[in-house]
């Protein structure tokens, strides 16, 4: 039983990331009709916003420590971060320690800007082009973005830790009546799940309970009619692109303590998230979220030794098997609108 609960937790955690990326993907498809293969790159850029902020906080002044030597035998240059010089050792160290959560504040405007530039500068020229063209141009853009990140940050994964307060594991099993140390789960992964739930809830509330959201939903249902009412739906859709970019970006920021960021992390998540969108239903927001968690949990269960011993390699193909099954039996996806992907 403890193994099953652990895999459910793992699945919810993986599913949180899939759902956050898929939410943005399906939002863009539902509003602009664009299949955005650069969306994974936005997740990666978000992660590197956290890396950048950590590096900014670690910018240091150097002074020579004559008691120590470097690898060449020269006196060692000891680095003291500027933030520690300016705000004192304690505040400076706390800023560095909390750089990941703080990076969210930086990531939101950065990602809105990136989304705006991407949409106005490139993607809007492909609205009326076939999906194949959109996929090619956004896939190309994703490769350009990841190569740029590699140029500036290198190819190696960069460790970006959670704050010390969240670095350990929680005895989750005790809460459920298990013996101590039976179900240990990292604090940060629980934080990530809560964070994802808040962001997803926020996006839904924004679309459901604001006038802006109502217009966007109307535009998703019938763009032409909304336009005929004199509403500038294009402007609102551009803002939605920025919002989708920001969601992917903050998802990337918060994921850095779980997965050390590297330049191809966006591509790794993109393919899975795209499958999530197809399974959930292209353009369906609840579908993307439900499919994200469902596939995350399925993938985790497929990784269990008991399952792998029955069907070797199932952990690597389970998501795609489900996608094939869904496309064969219900092409519109679990919660997709009738007609989408069915004509």
């Amino acid at each position: 039983m403890d193994a099953i609960i652990l895999q459910i937790l793992n699945g919810l955690d993986k599913g949180s990331a899939y759902a956050l990326i898929a939410l943005g993907l399906t939002l863009i498809f539902g509003t602009l009709g664009v299949v955005n293969f650069a969306h994974g790159a936005l997740f990666m850029i978000g992660a590197f916003v956290a890396v950048t902020l950590q590096r900014i906080f670690n910018l240091s002044t150097e002074h020579v420590d004559p008691t120590k030597t470097d690898f060449l035998g020269n006196p060692l240059k000891v680095k003291v971060p500027y933030v520690e010089s300016w705000f004192g050792p304690e505040v400076g160290a706390a800023l560095i320690d909390w750089s990941v959560p703080i990076a969210i504040v930086l990531a939101i405007p950065v990602m809105l800007l990136v989304g705006f530039v991407m949409e106005r500068g490139l993607i809007k020229h492909f609205y009326k082009r076939p999906h194949a063209d959109q996929i090619l141009v956004t896939f190309g853009l994703a490769i350009v973005l990841q190569e740029l990140v590699k140029y500036f940050f290198g190819a190696n994964p960069i460790q970006t830790g959670a704050p010390d307060a969240f670095s350990g594991s929680m005895d989750f099993g005790v809460l459920l009546g298990f013996d101590p140390n039976t179900i240990m789960y990292p604090y940060w992964r629980l934080v990530y799940f809560l964070f994802a739930a808040i962001v997803i809830g926020g996006v839904f509330a924004f679309l459901q309970f604001t006038t802006f959201g109502m217009v966007v939903r109307a535009g998703m249902a019938d763009r032409e009619t909304v336009g005929l009412l004199g509403i500038n739906i294009d402007k609102r859709f551009t803002i939605m692109f920025g919002l989708a970019a920001a969601v992917a970006g903050v998802a990337g920021v918060m994921y850095t303590p779980i997965l050390a960021p590297n330049y191809h992390m966006g591509m790794d998540f993109l393919v899975l998230s795209f499958v999530v969108v197809v399974v959930g239903g292209m353009g369906s927001l609840p579908g993307a979220v439900a499919a994200g968690f469902l596939l995350g949990i399925l993938q985790s269960f497929a990784s269990m030794n008991e399952i792998k011993s029955l069907i070797p390699g199932i952990d690597q193909v389970i998501i795609y098997l489900v996608a094939i099954l869904i496309l064969l039996t219900r092409p519109r996806g679990l919660l997709g609108r009738a007609g989408v992907m069915e004509e």
Partner: protein
């Protein structure tokens, strides 16, 4: 009146023969030369085939730095580095057999097909006499096969699978780097000393050639100590999130987790294992321990504080105190502002060893060079006395057991040397079952003539 002999059929025949001739790779048509890419001018060209893009690009960059430095030293530039400490004095800093050394580079992308394509291009278009470098066993085996067919020498880079000089050994290929068997043999006594003989190990293993041989080797070495193997789970390469594979470890009855992962996979799996509290856990009345059989400096830097106290092994490390190591670290450090990695060291010494072998053989003919390298014993290139064994072209020297440093002072000393395991302890027979047994042979040397 002249009569033309051209006929449609004759023209087609001629065209077909000419076309076939043009289409045939030049490496198979070097009839004029005594051997493939025999150097004729004032220079001789090496091909440095390393990952310049992809996940191991940083490692490839370090290999390139070292190879460039080696060429400088061969040509008499710089301070000479390890040429000053190398026991063979055949190289005098005036190039090789009167020719200046030069190089071209290829990008393996850490993909076998891309690595073969770049190696082929360097052999056919740039006329290289040897290929050096790389950061993957899959790539090494693929490029080694190509060099064997083409008739040039292959000096493998960072390749740790037993297969490279085991079942896939080739007469034209040599490996300075150590292998998975040696890691297991070196680590076992240290693990016994640190954790005792009553342990239960759980393996997570990268699902490809290196992972399999690494796991087989360390399992064999630890079971010889009396350890029990609880489970071995194959994980996909580049899985990223290993949580689903790590959580079953906690209640499996194991008290040691062995991560047969390398590169980004190792960084992620180790970090996540620590996040799940494994390093602080207790099992079977003992502290839970994590072991990473193969370390590299770049991985250690990526894993950060998570490697503290974790044992692993390395081919070489810049912190060794022998004269050769110090000379190389000084040359490399002054030129690039950082100490060299162990893959950089391998590529550097292999370039020197190739040049030295050519000089001793008095020829660039790959079979003469191979003969000069076979059974060659030397010193002064780090790790103490070293042998290039004739039977399998594997290099034998001391192996380093490393541990994550508790209090590193810089980003470069995150690992510390625990023990320099004597070469005798990591030796094995050329027909060892893990290395292809009696069926494994080098085959015939091919000079491409």
């Amino acid at each position: 009146m002249s009569k033309s002999n051209f006929t449609r059929r004759g023209l087609l025949k001629t065209g077909a023969v000419t076309g076939a001739g043009l289409a045939m790779p030049t490496i198979f048509t070097s009839g004029a030369a005594a051997f493939t890419n025999e150097p004729t001018g004032n220079t001789v060209t090496f091909g440095f085939n390393v990952p310049q893009t992809g996940p191991y690009a940083d490692e490839g960059l370090d290999e390139l730095r070292a190879q460039e430095l080696a060429v400088e030293h061969i040509n008499g530039m710089g301070d000479g580095g390890m040429l000053n400490t190398f026991s063979s004095k055949a190289l005098d800093g005036t190039g090789i057999l009167g020719k200046k050394a030069d190089f071209v580079t290829g990008d393996t992308q850490t993909k076998s097909d891309a690595a073969r394509a770049s190696a082929k291009s360097m052999i056919e278009k740039d006329g290289v006499v040897m290929i050096n470098g790389g950061s993957s066993s899959g790539v090494a085996v693929a490029v080694q096969g190509l060099c064997q067919e083409a008739g040039i020498i292959f000096m493998a880079g960072l390749t740790h699978s037993n297969d490279t000089t085991g079942k896939d050994r080739k007469a034209n290929g040599f490996r300075h780097f150590f292998n998975a068997y040696m890691s297991g043999a070196a680590l076992a006594p240290v693990l016994k000393e640190a954790y005792g003989t009553d342990r239960r190990a759980y393996h997570l293993t990268a699902d490809y050639t290196w992972g399999w041989t690494q796991q087989e080797s360390i399992q064999s070495a630890t079971e010889a100590l009396g350890w029990e193997t609880v489970n071995n789970v194959l994980t996909p390469v580049g899985a990223g999130d290993f949580s689903s594979y790590i959580t079953p470890v906690m209640n499996s009855g194991a008290d040691v987790l062995i991560l047969n992962h390398y590169g980004g996979d190792m960084i992620n799996s180790l970090t996540q294992a620590v996040q799940f509290g494994l390093r602080d856990a207790q099992a079977n009345g003992k502290n839970f321990e994590i072991v990473v059989p193969l370390y590299s400096e770049l991985m250690a830097a990526g894993a950060g504080e998570n490697i503290k106290g974790v044992y692993g092994s390395m081919n070489w490390n810049w912190q060794l105190s022998d004269a050769g190591t110090q000379a190389f670290v000084k040359s490399f450090g002054e030129k690039y502002g950082r100490p060299p990695s162990n893959s950089a060291h391998t590529c550097y010494v292999q370039t020197l060893l190739y040049a030295d072998a050519v000089t001793r053989a008095g020829s660039f003919n790959p079979c003469a060079v191979a003969e000069a390298l076979e059974g060659f014993e030397f010193d002064g290139l780090g790790n103490g006395p070293t042998l290039y064994r004739a039977e399998d072209h594997q290099c034998f020297k001391d192996v380093l057991v490393m541990k994550g440093a508790e209090n590193p002072t810089t980003e470069y000393d995150t690992l510390e040397i625990v023990e320099q395991t004597a070469v005798e302890q990591v030796m094995y027979e050329p027909n060892h079952p893990m290395f292809g047994g009696d069926d494994a042979t080098l085959g015939e040397c091919n000079d491409g003539a």
